[in-house]
């Protein structure tokens, strides 16, 4: 009797994540209906975001600026984070002395544990002024947001890359060394090809994370609805627009916000799935 109940409850719990995901998709889709009907796919290419002052059901809304801002800040972050994360993974697996591996790993993992709002605060008051004096601009903008995003995703990327580099059998590396290969050649010709899937997977997962990151970017991207013309220009991103304006929006503007949330959700769903299925493999032991 108790056994049956136990089993049924565990089954129910297991299926819950399926229902939550379906629920998120359906709710966003339903609430975005007005905007989807009104703007369709043109929403993606239109840069106008103007509410009608008299009627909440009117107005013109397009998601191009936040979409572009999301993509550009993510690209900047990826360009900076990828080499650094791979460098850290190489350091941890191939270079560091045994006594250094643990403290360095813990330090990098603590960097991942710091809440994103802290990155935002620190970035705004300490990092933005440096960017301003080096590259000009207002301090806040795409570049600042991208760099701080990079710092946030590095630990995550480095950890997965390190794990997949650790799976390379020692025999393979030793035979390359025996042939007179240098460390770099072993990394380039033995480790990289072997761990390629895991490394690409970690890059894509980090990409998904950067796309959806809200708080740090909210402090740093400038949060203005304008097209950036330089890398230091302020703009906005989907999560930031949602964080700042979602709760005050009404009518069609609200529906357009749900549309943006739906786009973000679907894109990150797709990215994470690709990373999991094609590169990281199904980790069923």
């Amino acid at each position: 009797m108790g056994g049956k109940l136990f089993k049924n409850f565990s089954f129910f719990s297991a299926t819950l994540s399926f229902f939550i995901l379906v629920g998120i998709f359906s709710i966003l889709f339903i609430y975005a209906q007005d905007s989807i009907h009104e703007f369709g796919f043109h929403f993606l290419g239109s840069e106008v975001w103007e509410a009608d002052e008299d009627d909440a059901e009117l107005g013109v809304f397009g998601g191009y600026i936040p979409l572009l801002g999301t993509m550009l800040s993510t690209i900047i972050a990826m360009v900076i984070a990828t080499p650094l994360a791979i460098g850290i993974a190489i350091f941890l697996t191939e270079i560091a002395h045994k006594s250094l591996i643990k403290p360095v790993s813990i330090a990098i993992e603590l960097l991942a544990a710091i809440p994103s709002i802290i990155y935002g605060m620190w970035g705004l008051f300490y990092f933005a002024p440096i960017i301003q004096s080096t590259f000009g601009g207002n301090g806040v903008g795409l570049l600042t947001a991208g760099i701080v995003l990079a710092i946030m995703i590095i630990p995550f990327m480095a950890a997965i890359t390190r794990d997949s580099m650790n799976t390379v059998p020692d025999v393979l590396k030793e035979s390359a060394y025996a042939m007179g290969a240098t460390k770099f050649e072993v990394i380039k010709d033995v480790i990289m090809p072997y761990a390629k899937g895991g490394i690409i997977g970690s890059i894509i997962l980090a990409l998904g994370r950067a796309l959806g990151e809200t708080m740090a970017v909210a402090f740093l991207i400038g949060s203005v609805m304008q097209l950036p013309s330089k890398i230091t220009d302020a703009t906005t991103s989907i999560p930031v627009l949602l964080a700042n304006n979602f709760s005050e929006a009404e009518g069609l503007e609200m529906s357009s916000m749900y549309y943006l949330a739906l786009i973000l959700f679907v894109v990150s769903f797709a990215i994470i799935s690709i990373a999991k299925f094609y590169f990281l493999g199904k980790k069923v032991k």
Partner: protein
């Protein structure tokens, strides 16, 4: 000589990457400590936000995170148990495992939007329950994956020994398997708690924030993280100082819980 030089360059660059990563950690922690400690007073902990303190915010943030854990931990553990002990690793199990992984990486702001639509909009006001639900949704997939992975490490022989003693399936799970995986699961719970206690995005328009001390989850609920976001953007120096003090306290809490979790598993090995 070229390849030896190239080798040197790459090794130096890799080491440099690690140095850069660690420098950022220390830079952030140093600023936080410097700004935070100088803004901290005893009254910071005894007063509520309305009087320039963070007492109600700390209590509010912990209340929401603890209730969320009380819901997410059992659900996540049962789900993990089903995946590992009951599913026979069938197709459904691998679908659920993958969906839960996807859910773990879903943007937290989207979860906030979802919870807003279901639990805020219909009632017309922000409420602590909505905040709790948003945090619960964030936590469940982490607990599922921890439980799943930790149960996988329990040797088959333990299960067989249980069967040989005539235990029923669920008694074996509760009394043998969960006990064997206890430390790992506890660590996972601590790490995920450390993660959700620092979350801001899912709370922005669910619990929102409250300047006053309250335990009423049906109304706007005080949140430490949402307050930091608000305070940091106010122009006056006093608000900023309070934001730094709150950030310092939050980071200290998160890192201490995180390190405690790691320390536990290290002792075991």
């Amino acid at each position: 000589m070229n390849r030896l030089l190239l080798n040197k360059i790459i090794l130096v660059l890799s080491t440099l990457s690690a140095v850069i990563g660690i420098s950022f950690l220390f830079w952030i922690l140093a600023t936080l400590t410097y700004k935070g400690v100088s803004s901290l007073h005893l009254s910071t902990f005894t007063q509520d936000l309305v009087n320039g303190g963070i007492r109600n915010l700390l209590v509010g943030q912990f209340t929401m995170a603890l209730i969320a854990s009380a819901i997410a931990v059992p659900i996540g553990m049962f789900a993990g148990i089903w995946l590992r002990e009951y599913s026979n690793q069938n197709k459904l199990a691998s679908v659920i495992r993958n969906l839960s992984d996807v859910m773990m990486s879903a943007p937290s702001i989207v979860i906030g939007v979802f919870v807003y639509a279901l639990f805020v909009a219909p009632f017309g006001n922000y409420n602590g329950f909505a905040g709790v639900i948003a945090l619960t949704i964030m936590m469940i997939p982490i607990i599922i994956s921890t439980t799943d992975n930790m149960l996988a490490l329990v040797p088959k022989e333990l299960r067989e020994a249980g069967i040989a003693l005539g235990g029923s399936k669920h008694t074996i799970i509760v009394q043998i398997i969960i006990k064997a995986a206890k430390v790992g699961i506890t660590t996972g719970v601590l790490l995920s708690f450390a993660r959700i206690i620092g979350e801001t995005a899912p709370l922005l328009f669910t619990s929102a924030n409250n300047q006053f001390f309250t335990m009423d989850l049906t109304g706007q609920f005080p949140s430490l993280t949402v307050s930091i976001y608000n305070l940091a953007t106010y122009p006056d120096e006093e608000s900023r100082q309070l934001a730094w003090a709150a950030s310092f306290v939050l980071t200290a809490i998160v890192l201490i819980i995180n390190l405690t979790g790691r320390y536990m598993t290290r002792n075991k090995k």
